[in-house]
């Protein structure tokens, strides 16, 4: 006796293929999103104030450290307080529409809520000061900020990427006074500089020092 019509015979096949496709997509999903290939590169959130790094840091050439005051001392580079903006904008562009929120913040005492662009996992303890003081340039991790109208993430910021530099025989370093320079070109004797740097600072390859970043 035929309980089911003939076309149901394909069900087993469809079912098996379906299971296979599901498992395949699930594992590719996990494989991709769980891997270092999946990063936030290109993440460019819209900020509450349309601040242009290109204008300030690029065209006008304000040094990074004018605003990011913590970068040489703290783990955090520090997002500047409203006061820093108002230092100039009390006199310059005092009625700009773009600066409305900044003026409001200054008047009301309510801080501006910036959106974080470069995010590290909570279990990774990164320290700006030790990198900057060793001569790692801003551009090495953040890209050429001086040409960004809207700041976006340039590098993967994954552990794999950290280690690329830390395991490299030629670390990406430069003289300390050039760290904020976005257009620095290595001099002819750069190799000598690197080797003397390694001599002075020691081997910064972490090998198995997990706790230096994860604690």
């Amino acid at each position: 006796m035929q309980l089911f019509p003939r076309w149901t015979n394909n069900f087993t096949g469809i079912f098996l293929i379906g299971i296979f496709l599901l498992l395949f997509s699930l594992s590719s999903f996990i494989w991709y999103y769980g891997s270092p290939y999946y990063t936030d590169v290109g993440y460019a959130p819209v900020q509450p104030v349309p601040y242009s790094h290109k204008l300030h840091a690029g065209d006008m050439g304000i040094d990074c450290r004018y605003c990011h005051v913590g970068v040489e001392q703290s783990y955090s580079a520090v997002i500047p307080p409203t006061e820093t903006c108002m230092g100039c904008h009390t006199y310059v562009k005092t009625d700009s529409e773009k600066l409305k929120l900044v003026r409001e913040s200054w008047e009301t005492g309510k801080p501006i809520e910036w959106i974080k662009v470069h995010m590290l996992p909570e279990y990774a303890y990164f320290n700006h000061s030790v990198h900057v003081n060793s001569g790692v340039a801003c551009i090495s991790c953040h890209g050429n900020i001086a040409e960004m109208e809207v700041v976006y993430q340039v590098k993967p910021l994954s552990m794999d990427w950290c280690l690329d530099c830390h395991r490299s025989d030629t670390p990406e370093i430069r003289p300390k006074n050039e760290v904020t320079n976005m257009y620095w070109t290595p001099p002819a004797d750069y190799d000598n500089f690197v080797s003397s740097w390694v001599e002075q600072h020691g081997d910064k390859r972490p090998v198995g020092d997990c706790q230096k970043c994860h604690r």
Partner: protein, 1027 residues
């Protein structure tokens, strides 16, 4: 300085916390405490989007919204949530977010002061350290100081002002206080806690001027009144003694736990340990004799301990006086001979031998006549004690307190201002404080919690923690320092000074103004006051002492006749001792989870108190651990579980005070049993002739004594189950190696012999015996290599290290049930080992944390590489890699790895999260954790040095345990630097590795315990636990 704190916008707006509305994203740079963007944000977002649909939601719209939210929720899972950075509006002076700030302040404790430095992260005080410039702290601290951060962030604290249970504005109280007038001053009284604050003293004087008829009474349930009265009897005036233990070679304690919970313990321990720091066998060390009735940290540190019930201390002292007279002291005493004669005679000889460098310390709860005689003898011995005037401090007067209670009961008091304390709970039962308080028309209670006393007072005012207010305090020897606030009051709380000003000056004055005025007018007295003031705030101490030592002269002949006759103890009756708890003290720390969960010294009990009974009594009356007993004294009785404790006198039952609190605290309410009902004003310290009744109930008590045991572990291992207890006991000496001074002089290299003895094959080297590849992973001869040394000779098992570690490393508390399951999380555990006679054993304590083996067994078995070795020799735990197999814990021979069986911090209130250290990850369920050598501090120091372009020097890295240890028993540093403190400690011949025979090469090693036993006594006291 820290006054400007309230401008801070970047991290924590404390008011928001108070209103419990703080959103997690307000905490700009938070690490790990909570996902910055929680799913709440998403819900809020949805809510907001719903608001746009003002004109009602059609079914179609609703469905599409649901579909969209499901899709969004799915996407939420794979997209990183948006994080926000919230900077300051105004730049803070000298503030760079991310760099912790350190401010000096003072922790007032009764009439003493402990100078502390508070580490503030983003304007949140998170860690307490001792202030090296402060004479009572010397950079060290105790468990109460370490745990006080949690007190500050206690969500159960009282908030604002309440009148008859209803919240009212502070101005209402000010109006009420201003309405008091001096014409009926005799109906006004102030009941305050003990204090040494010069500003409180000033307020007292002003109060007396404004209300000449009013009373100011000081009461503290645990006080030194008897000591002061004894000194008054001897010298004619009440004085504060300061025991200069650094110059004492022979110390006799009669019932004093001066290394434990008694006042000034940090100072005492620090100075005592100075003379226990043995360089080698040629060094000298002090000798401590202890007469006591139950085992205390002091008794366990003793070189010789005599177990005598408290009520017989007078006869011990009488006999001692007789012996001392024979040896030439001018004391009126008769020779007596008891069964303890040899012991007492030997002590007397030792005291005389070191005359000028010997001292007798009496327990603060002993009767005044005993203190009088001790003071006299000390005077004759030329003991290194300095006496300071006491008239500037506020200390308890039981007489005044009783008079006040009587007045209150008669209805003669209309206005009672209770400044701190909790007298309804802790006043002696014969004072009937609760009933008397009900007769007071209008009582004001300033307290941290809405507690037993607040319930009966019309006004309840939230008391500011010392992190939140201005004030001052003074050490015994007159060094005054400022209490400098670290944070704005979290819960709209007020200080005692703020409560007093409207009463005295008829105006609302800030504590800052009050304190500054007193310091300007009467303490500093210099032209450039502002500069001086800044300096005092910065240093945390005023360099000029306000008191000077007093010349003392014995008033009457020193005679044993001052001693009252011994109290008689009937057969089958017991002596009761009311002892302050090492965890909750008199009950004030009852809501502090760190203190509640810390295993107490000796008993390792947590979360409860118990009646301590001796082994013999337990056997005789068939009492088991946890058996409920009823204790009857006079017409009062309490029920309490029994706990059998080694070293307990068989006539004595010890009851810990401070438990059984009835107030709404999520940690402390209903924990333990209240012993205060048995305590009367005539027997504050101990009482005789108590009866006990065994009840047919048991009560579960959580002890950690048998958890993570190194020796038990061997017993339980398969194949070893036939090992007898004796066999196991014989192994304890390998764990805590010890010797006597006498033997140590004879065999200075005794440790080496022991280690060699263990070698299975004497012809092969130790490396060949190792079960692991003896080649370490890295070359440890290069760079900084971290190591630790713990001196067992000076450790007193005070728990300061363990709580310091808990505070620094965000270690969760797990609760009583989990402790009973053996899941406590403390990274440092303190092992107690007993040897010899159970009634008077020798105690060896050993604090054990991860020893950071160079060849670590845990690392061999981790399947995911979550525990690995660093190039600087630290055994690291990478939490985000751990998946919780627990293989490492099973393979750890030291049993120091702790596993998060649950997500213990899940329900952590937001306020408590503020107490967490942002430099350390919070661990999740299923993750193993253990001591990291405070690697966050190592990193911080290393980065600082690198930024300054210099190398790390010894002392740059201070780990939390070593920094807090009042005995300075823990040394940490670079073992590659031959001049570092740790290298020097490790080069001593007492240095040994715990379970060194396993070939694990631990980085933490121990210095063997040396007991300075008197050869005349050692034969009958010492039972060969050494080699």
């Amino acid at each position: 300085m820290s006054q400007i704190k309230n401008k801070s916008k970047e991290f924590v707006d404390t008011n928001k916390i108070d209103q419990n509305t703080a959103q997690s994203h307000e905490f700009g740079y938070w690490k790990s405490l909570k996902d910055i963007s929680s799913s709440d944000d998403y819900t809020n977002y949805l809510k907001q989007s719903e608001h746009h649909e003002d004109n009602g939601l059609s079914r179609r719209n609703f469905l599409s919204l649901v579909a969209a939210s499901v899709a969004l929720a799915g996407l939420e899972g794979c997209k990183k949530p948006v994080q926000k950075i919230i900077p300051y509006v105004e730049a803070e002076i000298a503030t760079i977010p991310g760099i912790p700030k350190h401010y000096a302040t003072t922790m007032p404790f009764k009439n003493n002061a402990l100078g502390v430095i508070i580490e503030n992260h983003d304007e949140r005080p998170v860690k307490v350290e001792g202030n090296e410039k402060h004479p009572a702290s010397m950079g060290k601290s105790n468990s109460f100081a370490q745990a006080t951060t949690l007190d500050m962030y206690d969500p159960d604290r009282s908030r604002g002002v309440r009148l008859n249970g209803k919240k009212v504005d502070w101005s209402e109280y000010v109006k009420y206080a201003q309405s008091m007038n001096s014409s009926n001053g005799n109906r006004l009284a102030i009941l305050s806690q003990e204090s040494s604050s010069p500003t409180i003293q000033f307020m007292h004087n002003e109060f007396k001027k404004a209300y000449p008829d009013a009373d100011w009474v000081v009461y503290e349930p645990i006080n030194n009144e008897n000591l002061y009265r004894g000194i008054e009897k001897a010298f004619g005036k009440k004085l504060q003694p300061l025991n200069r233990l650094e110059s004492a070679q022979t110390i006799l304690s009669i019932g004093s736990d001066f290394l434990g919970v008694e006042d000034n313990c940090v100072y005492h321990t620090r100075k005592f340990a100075q003379n226990r720091d043995l360089e080698d066998e040629k060094s000298t060390m002090n000798r401590l004799y202890v007469v006591e009735s139950f085992m205390t940290p002091t008794g366990s540190s003793a070189d010789h301990r005599l177990n005598v019930p408290n009520h017989q201390f007078a006869s011990v002292l009488r006999e001692l006086a007789g012996e001392l007279k024979k040896l030439g002291l001018k004391i009126d005493a008769k020779p007596v001979k008891s069964s303890n004669h040899l012991w007492i005679k030997t002590v007397a000889e030792d005291l005389i031998k070191n005359k000028g460098e010997s001292i007798i310390i009496g327990g603060s709860d002993l009767p005044a006549d005993i203190h009088c005689l001790i003071t006299g003898i000390n005077n004759q011995l030329k003991a290194p004690i300095d006496y300071y005037p006491l008239d500037k401090a506020h200390v308890t007067s039981m007489k005044d307190f009783k008079v006040l209670c009587k007045k209150m009961a008669k209805g003669a008091i209309d206005n009672l201002i209770i400044l701190g304390g909790n007298p309804v709970y802790d006043a002696p039962s014969d004072c009937n404080f609760e009933a008397s308080l009900k007769k007071v028309k209008s009582a004001v209670h300033l307290s941290s919690f809405y507690d037993e006393t607040s319930k009966h007072c019309q006004w309840s005012i939230a008391q500011a923690h010392f992190f939140e207010t201005w004030g001052d305090a003074m050490t015994y020897d007159g060094y005054a320092s400022i209490i400098q606030p670290q944070i704005r009051p979290l819960f709209d709380s007020k200080s005692a000074l703020q409560v007093l000003t409207p009463i005295i000056f008829k105006e609302d004055r800030s504590s800052y103004d009050t304190v500054k005025k007193v310091w300007k007018d009467s303490i500093v007295n210099e032209a450039n006051f502002e500069r001086k003031w800044e300096k005092i705030l910065h240093e945390g101490i005023h360099a000029k002492p306000l008191l000077s030592t007093q010349k003392v002269r014995i008033q009457n002949k020193i005679s044993t006749a001052v001693l009252t006759k011994d109290q008689a103890l009937d057969d089958n009756k017991f002596e009761l001792i009311f002892a302050p708890s090492s965890s909750v003290y008199d009950g004030r720390y009852a809501n502090n989870g760190w203190l509640q969960e810390i295993p107490k010294p000796i008993t390792s009990l947590t979360w409860d108190n118990a009646a301590f009974v001796s082994m013999k009594v337990a056997k005789k009356l068939n009492i088991k651990n946890g058996q409920m007993i009823q204790i009857l004294l006079g017409d009062k009785s309490v029920k309490v579980p029994a706990w059998i404790v080694p070293g307990q006198n068989q006539k004595t039952i010890t009851l810990e005070l401070g438990y059984g609190r009835e107030f709404s605290g999520r940690i402390g309410s209903g924990v333990g049993f209240n012993m205060y009902p048995l305590r009367t004003s005539s027997n504050m310290g101990y009482a005789v002739n108590a009866e006990i009744k065994i009840l047919n109930e048991t009560y579960p008590l959580a002890t950690t004594q048998e958890h993570y045991g190194l020796e038990e572990d061997k017993l339980a291992a398969p194949g070893f189950s036939d090992l007898s207890t004796k066999e196991v006991q014989s192994r304890i000496p390998d764990l805590v190696k010890q010797s006597t001074m006498e033997d140590y002089k004879k065999h200075p290299e005794f440790i080496k012999d022991v280690v060699e003895e263990h070698k299975p094959d004497k012809s092969r080297s130790w490396e060949d015996h190792s079960m692991y590849n003896p080649e370490p992973e890295y070359d440890y001869s290069k760079g900084h290599q971290w190591g630790m040394s713990i001196d067992l000779t000076s450790c007193t098992s005070c728990n300061a290290c363990s709580i310091a570690c808990q505070s620094e490393n965000n270690i969760p508390i797990v609760g009583k049930q989990q402790v009973m399951n053996g899941r406590e999380m403390h990274w440092i555990r303190i092992d107690n080992y007993f040897s010899g006679d159970p009634d008077n054993p020798e105690v060896s304590t050993q604090s054990v944390a991860c020893v950071h083996c160079e060849l670590a067994p845990c690392e061999q078995v981790c399947p995911v590489g979550a525990t690995t070795h660093s190039t600087d020799g630290v055994n690291q735990m990478t939490y985000n890699r751990c998946l919780g197999t627990r293989y490492c814990a099973n393979n750890c021979p030291y049993k120091v790895r702790k596993f998060n069986f649950y997500n213990y911090t899940k329900d952590l209130p937001e306020v408590v999260q503020m107490a967490m250290n942002p430099d350390v990850s919070m661990r999740f369920r299923g993750v193993m954790e253990k001591c990291t050598y405070c690697y966050q501090r190592v990193s911080e120091a290393r980065i600082k040095a690198e930024n300054e372009n210099r190398d790390l020097v010894d002392g740059d890295v201070k780990v939390a345990c070593a920094q807090s240890c009042p005995a300075d028993a823990i040394k940490f540093g670079d073992i590659n630097d031959p001049n570092s403190a740790v290298s020097k400690a490790k080069s001593r011949n007492r240095d040994y590795a715990l379970l060194g025979q396993l070939g694990t090469s631990p980085r933490t090693t121990y210095l063997a315990k040396i007991r300075n036993q008197n050869p005349k006594l050692s034969s009958n006291n010492h039972q060969g636990a050494h080699h």
